[in-house]
Symmetry: C2
Subunit: 452 residues, 2 copies
């Protein structure tokens, strides 16, 4: 039976659901997005600004035509103002569209704190391809850039601009970079690398004001323990986090969680008035799911998670019984020559959840000591009741794959003894004889047994 | 109580046991080896011949003095002729030494098939540091080299010499390279890369004779379906496998297995007359252990396995109750710009053991499509009863870490569904949005369900 599927959002979730349904069902699929572009890699934007990727169109992974050719009815630069949940239709500035199934994949918007001078020319956020293009037009090799916020985007961007030779000051209100994903000791390695790249890293400090008449001229930074300093600056990029774009769902009566995301069940269906709706789904950065270790409400910002959610939604609309399990959302950021990755919970998250943990650390290298190249490799493993619940890895290579392995280990319930029995491969150009992950597990076990 | 520990062999097992005991016990430790060197990286030898590592001494990971300073009584270039099992002593050409604990870690020797002309100058094996030095003295950039045997050592060496610009012919009797560790389709990727590097790869062919008066001048190669051809050659390196050095153990009455290795129990103790001996251990390439998937007798050739066995032996001698679990022995070989790795069983081993398998394959890249650098990434996963039992990965980077992850997956009993739930990290410079391992699992699942 041909049904109408309406999808709000043309990002990774929206377009993957649309493509899946066109391939596997006969449904009519209509997609709305206020964005100008679709099917581009958000994660690639810092690397265009770095210059390692030639130009923004390179980030468009599928041309618009391929979607149109599939028969997807795609409305870009179109605002949907309202969902009529009872009448099962959406009201957009292009008219009214009825749906049998609705997918809310509206994504997120940057959270912008109120800062004096935030309205000046030269103040940007970095979220969409258009944001990236605007910054790229404005910036030049002589620019002085202040980035506010040292989360994943701010940190990666600071590295990219510094590699290009641009003077960057990175200001973070918390005492460390990457506070949501790394412990302070591991984040420090990233901060040190940023400093080597020429980034001025200021943690435990907030921006008092952005100064200038029409254009940004400087930024006043107030440290926790130091007086206000003024950093000359032409460009300010605000990277203080993202907020789920869930207002339209809230207005429709769908339940919104503590995270600000649309609450979903394991099938990624939304609920209203305490009832699960069997034809309305949410996925991606506007959706609240469950974190694997704590079971807490969680919003995953990852493209890989988006794609997985999209397949679950697509399969369910196609009549299957697909489940999105609680997520670990392993993540990596690339900063110059360094990659920093994490999976599971940090020590801080453990403390917030009253989870008692034992950590194991190790420092090794990615290749045999005598083999040229390679880099330092730092590993931190976090255990609770002898089970792995978190892991962080920082090195010049081999980080994403180790984080992946540890993601599997957490999901499969690996104990410290499982990690010690884990056999790893060895060849001098690609590893040490025993992987540093093993030594980190060993360190944790010694601590558990009171030997260290 | 101070006891006498005698260790036969000064390789990775012998010296790790010796070091462990000196650190953790007060035992007297005496080590015998017929080798001239100790504590060097066998696995690094091809890369010295390649020129990427400067010189052989770079491979010596610990100078001899550090062992002597620890009080280890080390006898290099010393032959032990006999073990008096009843009298608990070993008879060497330096005298008689009594032991309370005996560790047999004699390693292996190259297996050399009888080939006409095998005695000519210019015919080598590559096993010890001395072998490497001899070849290095003999070889020059104009040399023409024939390598007999395309196992791990032959294949890696062929790549190393080719990178240096030397003309190499690699002859393998079986129809594929890496027959013990890779399926033919994956091995073909390695063969193609060798060919690109300039190596003449001849599979399904044997060497009829090595020709010359005193020095090697040519090699006659007979293919399965082609007439004998003659390859001009100055150097022949025989890399047709290794044999456990277990003769001295056999003579002492210790049980030898079908592999030729000394049979060990889970504590790595040997047996005689159907009884486990509680003070005689074997480890490394002279010892037979159990393979994880099949439970079959197995000899692990890996340095990492050697180190693990050594710790188990050391702990047991120190009075603990340490167990060496069945081994997966994940392995990688590095050939020019390519790394090929495998873990668990191949399709061929599965067939030999009457294990019915379903394979999933995928081809992707190691980085986002638009990100510069990176390489093709091929993955093959082998499942039996939905459980992962083998995996093979070939790419320019990220192979060893993926093999490690899959080693953990096999050990933890991961099913195809576990692999599909496995979340992997993503950043454009280090990965695709969904890891090719996931797609290989997807492919296998489709085949299991009759959808592909």
């Amino acid at each position: 039976m041909t049904e109408n599927v309406v999808i709000l959002g043309a990002g990774a979730v929206g377009m993957t659901v649309a493509t899946y349904l066109k391939r596997h069902t006969g449904h009519r699929v209509t997609v709305f997005s206020s964005d100008t572009h679709t099917a581009y890699s958000q994660c690639g934007i810092p690397f265009v600004l770095e210059g390692v990727i030639h130009d923004f169109p390179d980030l468009i992974v599928r041309p618009l035509d391929t979607f149109l050719d599939m028969g997807i009815d795609l409305h870009l630069e179109t605002t949907v103002n309202h969902i009529d949940a009872t009448g099962q239709k959406v009201i957009s500035d292009e008219g009214i569209f009825e749906y049998d199934h609705l997918v809310i994949a509206t994504g997120s918007v940057p959270f912008i704190p109120t800062i004096k001078g935030g309205e000046l020319d030269g103040v940007f956020t970095l979220h969409t391809l258009s944001d990236g293009m605007k910054i790229n037009c404005y910036i030049n090799d002589g620019s002085r850039v202040v980035i506010i916020g040292a989360g994943g985007i701010g940190t990666e961007l600071a590295g990219s601009l510094a590699v290009r030779g641009i003077a960057v000051t990175l200001v973070e209100a918390l005492p460390q970079a990457l506070p949501l994903t790394m412990d302070p000791d591991m984040a420090l390695l990233v901060q040190q690398h940023l400093t080597l790249l020429g980034v001025q890293v200021v943690t435990g400090a907030h921006v008092d004001s952005i100064n200038g008449k029409r254009h940004v001229r400087s930024v006043s930074v107030q440290g926790d323990t130091v007086p206000t300093g003024t950093v000359l600056s032409d460009i300010v990029i605000v990277a203080t986090g993202l907020r789920a774009l869930s207002g339209i769902a809230r207005d429709a009566g769908y339940k919104i969680g503590a995270t600000g995301g649309i609450v979903t069940d394991e099938h990624l269906r939304v609920s209203a008035d305490g009832e699960i709706l069997d034809n309305v789904y949410a996925g991606g950065e506007c959706a609240e799911v469950k974190e694997f270790v704590t079971g807490s409400p969680f919003i995953s910002r990852l493209g890989s998670a988006a794609r997985r959610m999209a397949l679950v939604i697509g399969e369910n609309i196609a009549g299957q019984d697909a489940v999105y399990p609680p997520t670990l959302s392993p993540n990596v950021v690339v900063v110059g020559e360094m990659t920093a990755g994490s999976v599971g919970i940090t020590s801080h998250t453990a403390a917030l959840n009253d989870i008692s943990v034992v950590c194991g650390i190790s420092e090794g290298r990615t290749r045999a000591g005598y083999y040229p190249g390679g880099s330092q490799l730092n590993v931190k493993l976090i255990f609770s009741n002898r089970r792995l619940v978190g892991a962080q890895v920082v090195a010049g290579e081999g980080v994403k794959e180790r984080i992946d392995a540890l993601s599997l280990a957490i999901r499969m319930g690996a104990t410290v003894d499982d990690l010690l029995e884990w056999e790893t491969a060895y060849a001098p150009p690609v590893s040490m004889i025993i992987d540093p992950v093993t030594f980190a597990a060993d360190d944790a076990k010694m601590k558990m047994e009171g030997l260290a």
